[in-house]
């Protein structure tokens, strides 16, 4: 019987990530939420990441244990859990200032892992429906939607200004008008044409 609840774990990265996504322990989840909240603090009408479930998104894109993390965001389950465990409840319970200090150290000393963590948190956060609604309150984001399809943006798309286009001027060189141009004398490599003319080749 086919198990429809899981994603085939073959040789391609599954679109949408792996199902089921990895399930973090309570402490691991608290640590990841705490880190995400410092990376993208809430405010100005935007919720903190811990309130919009970035964890389930990230869980789908962490490569499950037993598979090589070959694809973006290049996070493997075993290593990812170990790093969250390394930060531990102490990080989750720390003040924002203390957490930022820890993250700055991570950014400085373990740049690769920090970059991967930051990137996946950014991707997760800006995919959440609650965040899209916050973006919709920005003047430049009022029409922004969760995904490009199925709706697209044809209903809210401006067309060309015919009056502006009527003023365009331009020209081109016709085939019969093509003439030799002078080659800048200081180009460091001589041209094939010059070489031929000099009888070198």
């Amino acid at each position: 019987m086919t198990d429809l609840s899981v994603t085939p774990r073959d040789t391609k990265p599954p679109l949408g990530g792996w199902l089921p996504g990895i399930r973090l322990t309570e402490t691991q989840a608290a640590v990841l939420n705490a880190a995400a909240d410092e990376l993208i603090p809430g405010g100005d009408g935007f919720p903190p990441p811990s309130e919009v479930d970035v964890i389930s998104f990230i869980g789908r894109y962490v490569t499950p244990s037993g598979l090589e993390p070959r694809w973006f965001p290049f996070l493997g389950e075993d290593d990812f859990r170990a790093r969250l465990d390394g930060l531990g409840q102490e990080f989750a319970d720390a003040t924002p200032v203390q957490r930022v200090t820890v993250l700055e150290g991570l950014e400085r000393d373990e740049q690769e892992f920090f970059t991967r963590l930051r990137d996946v948190v950014y991707h997760a956060y800006y995919s959440r429906p609650e965040v899209i609604r916050a973006i919709n309150r920005l003047p430049a984001g009022r029409d922004y939607r969760n995904s490009p399809q199925p709706y697209g943006y044809s209903d809210v798309m401006d067309d060309w200004d015919d009056e502006l286009l009527s003023r365009v001027r331009g020209t081109y060189i016709r085939t019969e008008e093509v003439r030799r141009v002078a080659i800048p004398a200081d180009l460091p490599m001589c041209s094939a044409r010059q070489a031929r003319e000099a009888g070198e080749n």
Partner: protein, 553 residues
């Protein structure tokens, strides 16, 4: 060896060139087998409807085969990773679908300057124009006619894609400067055609299109080719083109599913495996009588690789531009600086193309040039000031065809079938560096003329990551004037093997300063028309005729 198949024409590669050739030949009742090492991409395999759509751009839809790492991809070694896609449709599956034409001057760059390996094309714009028109009609181009900077073009299948706020803003900037500009032609439907839906301005173009609005070859040419009876074999990785007594006899391929080898025998062989894959395959096909590879007696196979020279310049403005809407890559273009003016310190010219942006995550992660929203306390203000206020101007320069920019075989790295990986070496010529530096300044002038720039960053010379990104891979088996300066004659017929043709971007003699797919496909249609009308002549040829002696259409 399993039993072989016989056909009139064998086409290798089901991308832009192979699809166009297969369809046109089969229109005339010619029996065609096409071998494609990838598979079909299903409409639901595009990421446009998922919450992780922006993330998938870096993952399953990465431009780079070395990052994507699909089993059908082959690794590419060397100092750049070209952007290719493997499957029915080839690299059109993730292309921009910008659809400019080369200009007449582009076919006479040898006459104009001849710097480095530059030669004239053996054909003119006027000779190619009817095939541009045929191809445009086949794929359904969106166009606004009347561009005074180019020869007249026929009406499109639909009107030009809408420009949105970005188009109006940047068009106004070019207008103030008095510079040429025009809405971009795109191979993106603005009117429904066959079973393909018109674009709904979703703003996510470089990962194919689930509506089939973008004319990737799997949806533009292949449905008709299959109706015509073309035998398209997927997961069929060609190991070698076979030859005997100076003529191609067909090819041997590996079925990637079963691992078995098969042979297809054909009267004519057409290679269209992209400008990396085609020279790779010809070099892999070294055999008796062709010790340095097929069609390579002059050593030119793989040489004169061109990528275009690039710089991306991101601009953010003090007003909403909503660049997440509308066709992403090419809203409009300016060809004010297209023609050579040596007083600038370089030959050749460039297009300034205006592009848009993706969504919120891409905005936070630096858009096109790594202008990253800081984490922590400064994140919110940066994001709120940058999101939806962006326009991209990219400098797209014509790079010189440098002979040492080339594709060779890597002796140490193999693909999943055990075949050698291609090795690519590419460096910008000093001429191209100067061109891009100068172009960056013009991009800034255009943005300043538009007004209200609050931030800008650039990728520097050579695209996003330092080395030039190989979106446009051209020239490695170029057509030319003599067996000494090229790999094929003016009908895409290899000088060494008269019944072996090359119909992808590797046959482009120069790269111009515009996206190449429109031209490579027009050239492929022209070559197919020649094969269609002249296959009896080709069948009797023991040597490839010179351009002067070759039969006319």
């Amino acid at each position: 060896m399993a039993a072989y198949t016989e056909t009139d024409v064998l086409v290798i590669g089901a991308g832009a060139g192979g699809g166009a050739v297969s369809k046109r030949l089969s229109d005339a009742g010619i029996k065609v087998v096409c071998l494609e090492q990838g598979d079909w991409v299903h409409a639901m395999d595009h990421p446009h409807m998922y919450d992780g759509w922006e993330l998938e751009r870096k993952r399953s839809w990465s431009f780079e085969p070395n990052v994507r790492k699909f089993p059908e991809d082959y690794p590419v070694t060397g100092n750049t990773t070209p952007y290719t896609f493997t499957g029915v449709g080839g690299s059109t599956l993730h292309y921009a679908a910008a659809w400019p034409r080369f200009k007449p001057v582009d076919f006479r760059k040898g006459t104009e300057h001849g710097v480095e390996g530059t030669i004239d094309w053996p054909i003119s714009y006027e000779e190619l124009e009817p095939f541009y028109a045929i191809n445009d009609a086949e794929i359904g181009v969106a166009r606004r006619t009347g561009d005074p900077g180019n020869p007249a073009r026929p009406e499109g299948w639909g009107p030009a894609s809408r420009g949105g706020k970005v188009g109006h803003k940047m068009g106004s900037g070019f207008d103030k400067l008095g510079w040429h500009w025009w809405p971009a032609d795109n191979a993106i439907l603005t009117r429904t055609k066959d079973n393909r839906l018109a674009c709904n301005d979703c703003g996510f173009c470089l990962a194919g299109c689930p509506r089939h609005s973008i004319a990737s070859t799997d949806v533009s040419y292949w449905p008709a080719a299959l109706r015509n009876g073309v035998d398209l074999r997927v997961n069929a990785r060609v190991e070698q083109i076979n030859a005997k007594n100076g003529r191609a006899t067909g090819a041997t391929y590996i079925d990637r599913v079963t691992g078995q080898r098969h042979e297809v025998r054909a009267g004519i062989v057409v290679v269209a495996a992209n400008s990396i894959g085609t020279p790779r395959l010809l070099l892999m096909s070294a055999q008796q009588g062709h010790p340095d590879g097929l069609a390579n007696s002059n050593g030119l196979v793989g040489t004169h690789l061109m990528y275009h020279s690039w710089s991306f310049v991101d601009f953010w403005f003090d007003e909403p531009l909503e660049g997440f809407k509308g066709p992403e890559p090419a809203v409009l273009y300016s060809q004010e600086f297209y023609d050579s003016d040596p007083s600038r310190g370089f030959v050749n010219g460039f297009s300034l193309q205006v592009g848009t942006s993706l969504g919120a995550a891409t905005s936070a992660l630096g858009t096109n040039t790594g202008n990253l929203a800081p984490w922590g306390a400064g994140h919110r203000s940066f994001f709120n000031e940058h999101f939806g206020r962006h326009a991209l101007i990219y400098v797209q320069g014509e790079d010189l065809p440098v002979r040492t920019n080339r594709v060779t075989l890597d002796p140490d790295v193999k693909d999943s079938s055990g075949l050698p990986a291609p090795h690519v070496h590419y460096e910008l010529h000093e001429n191209d560096r100067r061109l891009v530096e100068w172009g960056q300044q013009r991009a800034r002038e255009a943005a300043d003329a538009a007004g209200g720039v609050i931030d800008t960053t650039t990728s520097g010379i050579g695209g996003i990551d330092g080395p030039p990104p190989g979106w446009h891979i051209m020239g490695t088996c170029r057509m030319g004037n003599t067996p000494e300066d090229s790999v094929t004659n003016k009908w895409n017929q290899t000088w060494d093997v008269p019944n072996l043709f090359i119909t992808d971007a590797s046959s482009l003699t120069t790269g111009a300063a515009v996206n190449p797919t429109s031209t490579l496909q027009a050239v492929a249609v022209r070559a197919a028309e020649y094969i269609k009308r002249r296959h009896r002549d080709i069948a009797s040829q023991t040597t490839t005729p010179s351009n002067a002696d070759a039969p006319a259409l």
